[in-house]
C-alpha cells in the first residue's frame, strides 16, 4: 500500500485496563501507535473549590479523599503547607511518626502498582502475589490508624495517634516480614523472562524529556533524573537519615534508559528503601508530644489569625505532591491549590506512546502509576442531558432531595 491508511482508536473513558476514567485517542497504523491525545476531567469533584468553604481541620479529611492510595500524601502536603504559612513547629516524635506512616503507604502503593502493572500485561499470578504480600502492610496500617485505606493520621501540627506498645511491635513485625521477603520479590519482579519481554525498551522517556516535561516521582527517576522531594527538600524526619538519596537505575549498575523496566527497578528498590527508612525511624524515634496543639477547635482559632502563603511538598509514592495554600485571616483558606504526581506526569505520556504497539498501551499508561482522580479535582459536575450543573446548584438539588426524604420520615 502506498498511502498508509490510519485509523483512530478510542480507548476510554471506561476500559478494562483503566482503573479510572481517562480517554485516549490514538492514531493507529496496524498495531503501531502514531500519535496519542489525552482527554481528562471525567472525575471532577470540585475539591479545590469545596476546600474554600471548609475550615482547616475539615479540609484534612476532604483532601485525604482526593485519592485512596495517596491518603497520607495529600494531607501531609496540606499540613506542611499550613504549618509553613502559620509557622507551627511540629514535635520531633510527630515527624518520625509521619515518616513511618508515609513510608508504609509507599510500600503499600508500590506493591499495589506492581499488581496492577502485572495485570495489565496479563500476568495475573504476580498480581495476586503482590496483593497478597501487600495485605501485611495494610493490616499494619489498620493497627496503627484503625483503617486500611484512609488513615486519618495527620493533623495540623502533628499526628493523631502514637506508635507505642503493641502498635510498635506490629510495625517491627511488618518490617521483618518485608525484609525477609524482599529478595524473592526482587527476583520475581526484575528477572522474570516474560515480564522483561513486555517491559524492556517500551515507553521510553529520555532524561531530557523528563527534565523538560517536569516529570516527577519514579517516572522521572527511571529516566535518570534524581528528583526526590525526600532527598531534595527538607521535610519530616528525612533530613536525619544520612544514607537517603534518590533512587535511579544506576543503583543496580544499570544505565537508565527510561523504559518501563527501569520504572519497575526504581519501584522495587524503593520498597527496600522504605523498609530501611521505617526501621531507621523505629530505632531512632525520639520521645515527647505527638501534636503541637491537641484541641482541634483551638487550632482553627489560631489559624484564623494568620495571613500568609504556604507551600507544602511531599514525595508521595507516585511522585511529588505539592500544595499551595493561601491563608487570609479567615476560618477557611482563600485558596487551596493541589498538585498530584500524576498531574505532572500526564504530559510525559505523549513521548512514551511514540512508536508503541497497541499491546503496550495499558502498561505504558499504568507505568507512571496514574491516579486520574488525583489530577481531576476542579469544580463542577455534568448533569443530566447537556446541561451543566454547578457544584452549588447540585448541592442545592441534593439538599432538596434530602429534605424531601427527611420529611417523609
Amino acid at each position: 500500500m502506498s498511502n498508509k491508511e490510519t485509523y483512530k482508536l478510542q480507548i476510554g473513558p471506561t476500559h478494562p485496563a483503566f482503573k479510572e476514567p481517562v480517554r485516549f485517542e490514538f492514531e493507529v497504523d496496524g498495531e503501531h501507535v502514531l500519535h496519542a491525545d489525552i482527554d481528562m476531567g471525567y472525575t471532577h469533584r470540585g475539591i479545590e473549590h469545596v476546600s474554600k468553604e471548609r475550615n482547616f481541620i475539615q479540609i484534612i479529611y476532604l483532601l485525604e479523599r482526593i485519592c485512596g492510595i495517596c491518603s497520607t500524601s495529600h494531607p501531609m502536603a496540606y499540613c506542611l503547607a499550613v504549618e509553613n504559612a502559620a509557622e507551627i513547629e511540629v514535635p520531633a516524635r510527630a515527624k518520625y511518626i509521619r515518616t513511618i506512616v508515609g513510608e508504609l503507604e509507599r510500600l503499600h502503593s508500590h506493591l499495589l502498582w506492581a499488581g496492577v502493572a502485572a495485570h495489565e500485561v496479563g500476568f495475573d499470578t504476580l498480581f495476586y502475589t503482590t496483593w497478597d504480600i501487600r495485605e501485611k502492610v495494610m493490616d499494619c496500617l489498620e493497627v496503627i490508624s484503625g483503617n486500611r485505606v484512609n488513615y486519618a493520621m495527620l493533623t495540623i501540627g502533628g499526628v493523631r495517634r502514637d506508635i507505642i506498645g503493641e502498635v510498635a511491635e506490629a510495625v517491627n513485625k511488618t518490617v521483618e516480614y518485608y525484609s525477609d521477603l524482599y529478595s524473592q520479590l526482587e527476583d520475581i519482579m526484575l528477572n522474570d523472562m516474560s515480564l522483561r519481554l513486555r517491559t524492556e525498551n517500551v515507553g521510553i522517556l529520555t532524561y531530557d524529556e523528563a527534565l523538560k516535561l517536569c516529570a516527577v516521582g519514579p517516572t522521572a527517576r527511571a529516566s535518570g533524573l534524581a528528583k526526590d522531594v525526600r532527598a531534595d527538600y527538607a521535610v519530616n524526619a528525612y533530613p536525619d537519615i544520612p544514607w537517603l538519596k534518590a533512587i535511579t537505575p544506576n543503583d543496580v549498575g544499570k544505565k537508565p534508559v527510561g523504559d518501563i523496566y527501569d520504572r519497575i527497578v526504581v519501584r522495587v528498590l524503593e520498597i527496600k528503601q522504605s523498609v530501611d527508612i521505617i526501621r531507621f525511624c523505629m530505632e531512632n524515634m525520639p520521645g515527647g508530644e505527638i501534636v503541637a496543639e491537641p484541641k482541634a477547635v483551638k487550632v482553627i482559632n489560631q489559624l484564623k489569625k494568620v495571613k500568609a502563603h504556604g507551600i507544602g511538598r511531599y514525595e508521595g509514592p507516585r511522585g511529588e505532591v505539592s500544595h499551595y495554600d493561601i491563608l487570609d485571616n479567615n476560618e477557611c483558606p482563600v485558596g487551596v491549590k493541589v498538585k498530584a504526581p500524576t498531574y505532572s506526569n500526564i504530559i510525559s505520556w505523549v513521548p512514551m506512546f511514540r512508536g508503541a504497539e497497541i499491546a503496550d498501551i495499558p502498561i505504558i499508561m499504568s507505568s507512571i502509576d496514574p491516579c486520574i482522580a488525583c489530577s481531576d479535582r476542579a469544580s463542577f459536575v455534568e448533569g443530566e442531558g447537556k446541561k451543566t450543573v454547578s457544584f452549588g446548584e447540585l448541592r442545592k438539588l441534593s439538599m432538596e432531595k434530602m429534605n424531601k426524604i427527611r420529611r417523609g420520615l
Binding site: Y61, R65, Y128, E142, V143, N147, I188, R406
Partner: protein, 148 residues
C-alpha cells in the same frame, strides 16, 4: 523465571490467602445451607478500628464542637425542647451514610458521647433509612412525648 515458578509452587502447596466471606453476615438462607459445613468466623478487628458510629443521646451536652470539625457535614444540629428546664437543648443527629470515619468528632467531644465501634457491615439499600441515622429514635420518642 525460576523464582517465579518456585513462588507459584509455594502458593500451590501453601495456605490460600483468601477467605470465604464470614458467614455471620451472610443472608439467612445461605447460613442454613452452610450450617452443617465450614463456617468461617469473622476476622477480628484491631483495637481502635474506626467503624460504625454510635452516639449516646443522654451523655450529649449539645456543645456543638463536633459540628464544627466534621468534614463531611454528616452531623446535623437538631434542637429540641428540654421540658424540664424549658429551654431548647441542642442534640445532634448523625447521618451514617455520609460519615467518613475520621474520628475527629470522637476526639473533640468533651463528654465522650460519640464512639466508633468495630462494626464494619454497614451496607444498606436506603441512604437515609432509619438505621442509617444515629440519634433519631431518641428524637422520635421525644417528639411523641411532646405531641402528647
Amino acid at each position: 523465571m525460576l523464582s517465579t515458578v518456585s513462588r507459584i509452587m509455594q502458593q500451590f502447596f501453601g495456605r490460600r490467602s483468601t477467605n470465604v466471606f464470614p458467614v455471620k453476615y451472610a443472608p439467612e438462607s445461605v447460613i442454613d445451607a452452610l450450617a452443617g459445613g465450614d463456617i468461617h468466623p469473622p476476622i477480628s478487628m484491631p483495637e481502635g478500628y474506626r467503624g460504625k458510629l454510635s452516639y449516646d443521646f443522654d451523655k450529649c451536652i449539645g456543645c456543638g464542637m463536633c459540628l464544627k470539625v466534621c468534614p463531611a457535614k454528616a452531623l446535623e444540629d437538631y434542637p429540641i425542647m428540654d421540658t424540664e428546664k424549658n429551654r431548647p437543648s441542642k442534640r445532634i443527629v448523625f447521618y451514617r451514610g455520609k460519615c467518613t470515619y475520621c474520628e475527629e468528632c470522637v476526639k473533640v467531644c468533651p463528654v465522650g458521647a460519640i464512639k466508633l465501634n468495630p462494626d464494619f457491615m454497614m451496607a444498606n439499600y436506603e441512604k437515609y433509612g432509619d438505621d442509617q441515622i444515629e440519634g433519631i429514635e431518641k428524637r422520635r420518642e421525644f417528639e411523641v412525648k411532646e405531641g402528647q
